[in-house]
């Protein structure tokens, strides 16, 4: 396996065709809704904006509406109502312009397996009308950057899963998109390849000229890569903020206890005694209590005083899973 090294000394060619016409967010979504035939509401009137150069994550389980949102922004799914703009271009009325400045790495493989990797890149460059000489140098640069140089002249069918994924990322970048959509970019990959790809994407975010919107149901991906995260659940955005701010909502530490009886009754008891606030929550027999300004020792002592039949008590720092759990009542890993 060829290691992936992003050559930071050789930045990708900067865009030279920008003109100061109208300033816009990179992505702007207003009351966007998608109802599929049969009445399935996949996306229920969502709103958000993504600033230029930002890495924005849509975090949620399978079926939450992430891919439908990406589909509408890339004009492969028609919105039922609402509006969406990519670099100022309305995806419904100016789809060609919106597509011309964006690229997408889909969740499923989309490469032509019988063609060589180089030919796949070439087709993308031609369809996006990238200048041939620019495309040639860019293919060489991306091949080096993504560790594809040895592979490009082989049929894609002979690539491993990770190599094919890197090729798809290279293909999306060969047209120098201003907005890059990554739909579950690491799903289905083994852990080693996944971490290598996260490195690649992590280095892409260091380039301020590209705006990245990625969907994922992996918490570590969202926390590691995203400047801001929208948590999407059943087609609705239930929280939107920086990872740090989302975590801060649960305080610096929380207590987790496993009760032998009814967790809801235990939670009610803790709330009555002022130990648990409104943001404490239960999953099965596990009760999670954010501490906020209380100390762990004080909270644990108070829990003992409450005489709850708990089989275990522990403290830990909150994670995005706790945020998701507190907002939706389900663990992201279970829902995914």
């Amino acid at each position: 396996m060829t290691p992936i090294h992003l050559n930071e000394e050789k930045p990708m060619q900067s865009r030279s065709e920008s003109i100061p016409r109208v300033k816009q967010p990179a992505i702007s979504v207003r009351q966007l809704r998608k109802t599929y035939p049969g009445g399935v509401d996949a996306v229920k009137s969502i709103d958000f904006e993504v600033a230029a150069g930002e890495v924005f994550g849509l975090l949620g389980p399978n079926g939450a509406g992430k891919s439908t949102t990406i589909g509408m922004l890339t004009t492969t799914i028609a919105p039922t109502s609402g509006s969406a703009r990519v670099a100022g271009y309305d995806v419904a009325s100016e789809p060609l312009a919106a597509r011309s400045i964006s690229s997408v790495v889909f969740q499923e493989p989309v490469v032509d397996r019988t063609l060589a990797g180089r030919r796949n890149l070439d087709i993308h460059a031609r369809l996006w009308r990238t200048d041939p000489s620019v495309a040639r140098s860019r293919v060489g640069e991306l091949a080096e950057t993504l560790g594809l140089a040895e592979l490009l002249d082989r049929p894609v069918g002979s690539y491993s899963g990770g190599e094919r994924r890197r090729l798809e990322i290279a293909r999306a970048l060969v047209s120098e998109p201003q907005v890059l959509f990554l739909d579950e970019p690491t799903v289905g990959l083994d852990p080693r390849i996944r971490h290598e790809l996260l490195d690649v994407i992590g280095r892409l975010r260091d380039r301020s000229e590209i705006t990245i919107m990625l969907t994922t149901h992996y918490l570590d991906e969202a926390e590691r890569l995203c400047d801001r995260i929208a948590i999407i659940h059943a087609g609705k955005i239930v929280a939107l903020d920086t990872p740090r701010a989302l975590l801060a909502g649960l305080g610096h530490e929380l207590v987790e206890l496993r009760v032998n009886g009814d967790a809801a009754t235990a939670l009610s008891s803790l709330r009555t005694r002022g130990i648990a606030g409104d943001d404490a929550f239960t999953v099965g027999s596990t009760l999670t209590v954010p501490l906020h300004d209380r100390t762990a020792a004080h909270a644990i002592s108070a829990i003992h005083d409450a005489d709850l039949a708990a089989s275990s008590i522990s403290t830990r720092q909150p994670t995005l899973d706790d945020v998701y759990l507190q907002l939706t009542g389900a663990r992201l890993a279970d829902a995914a």
Binding site: R15, E17, S18, I19, P20, R21, V22, K23, Q24, P25, A26, Y36, A51, A52, G53, E54, V55, G71, T74, T75, T76, I77, A78, A87, G88, Y89, L96, A97, R99, S100, I101, S102, S103, V104, F106, E108, P109, V110, V111, D112, R113, T114, L115, R119, I123, H124, R126, L127, W128, R129, R171, Q178, R205, D206, R207, S208, T211, D227
Partner: protein, 279 residues
């Protein structure tokens, strides 16, 4: 840390190059994919070649018909080759959809009708090559054609328009059925059954009254009558349809029918593709 600015400048839409360049790219892609599966090129050719070179001479001998019957069947097999090949070409749409490549193409900044036209261009070129091979094989077998320059124009126009229309049928069907198995199951009814009714092996006047009347509405009947008029100088097929005296008038009317078929199916296929591709 990423440098985030709340706003971005609108990019200048990329310079308009030759509008046919994306079409050429799509056609080149489809052609490369097609030549990597040679059976798609060879299989549609086998049955018509068999009819033209083996079955037609055998029928001539068994039925004690004249040598012209061989030419009649040889030209009739063009009416089998074109539907078979264009319908096989339609399978590429399903392969693109199932393999995922269609999603990338749909995200490209090109009018989506070009995706249909790119496939059509390759289906058209491969069909033309196969028709040429069929005619060359028939000539090599000793089958005699009687084509003038004007006749060749009628033949080429009829074959070309019928190819476009039949590809439209294939593309429409591919957009509407979810699986390749379903597509293939419907192929005989669309590509082969009409061939038996359209005057390929015998004139439509030999059909029972209702079927003869029905055959006049088949675009293939008009296409085959034009092919024979062009390659053999035989206007009897046109006369069986129109019952007129002027061969040129009848040919013009039949060509109009085939042209309408081609135009209508292209429009229908592009609409069907757009509806199926964008959910």
């Amino acid at each position: 840390m990423t440098a985030i600015s709340p706003e971005m400048t609108l990019p200048r839409p990329r310079a308009r190059h030759n509008p046919l360049a994306p079409l050429a790219t799509l056609a080149a892609r489809r052609f490369q994919l097609s030549v990597r599966t040679p059976r798609e090129l060879v299989v549609p050719l086998l049955t018509p070649i068999l009819f033209a070179l083996v079955i037609a001479p055998a029928l001539k001998q068994a039925l004690h018909t004249s040598a012209a019957y061989e030419a009649f069947v040889a030209t009739g097999t063009i009416g089998l080759l074109i539907p078979l090949n264009t319908m096989f070409a339609g399978l590429g749409v399903i392969v693109d959809r199932d393999g995922g490549a269609q999603r990338e193409l749909l995200a490209a900044p090109i009018p989506r009708s070009l995706l249909v036209l790119g496939n059509l261009a390759v289906a058209f070129a491969i069909t033309a090559l196969q028709v040429a091979v069929l005619i060359a094989a028939a000539v090599a077998r000793g089958i005699h054609f009687n084509a003038t320059a004007t006749g060749v124009v009628w033949f080429v126009a009829a074959a070309a328009l019928f190819t476009v229309g039949m590809y439209g049928v294939g593309e429409t069907l591919a957009s509407r059925v979810p699986k390749a198995e379903e597509y293939i199951a419907r192929l005989p009814a669309i590509a082969i059954v009409p061939w038996f009714l359209a005057g390929s092996l015998f004139p439509i006047s030999a059909l029972p009254g209702f079927l003869a009347w029905f055959a006049k509405f088949l675009p293939l009947t008009h296409g085959l009558a034009l092919v024979r008029y062009g390659l053999l100088g035989d206007s009897s097929g046109l006369h069986n349809i129109w019952s007129m005296h002027s061969a040129t008038t009848m040919a013009t009317l039949s060509l109009a029918v085939v042209a309408f078929f081609a135009a209508a199916l292209m429009v229908i296929s592009i609409r069907a593709f757009n509806r199926a591709a964008v959910r």
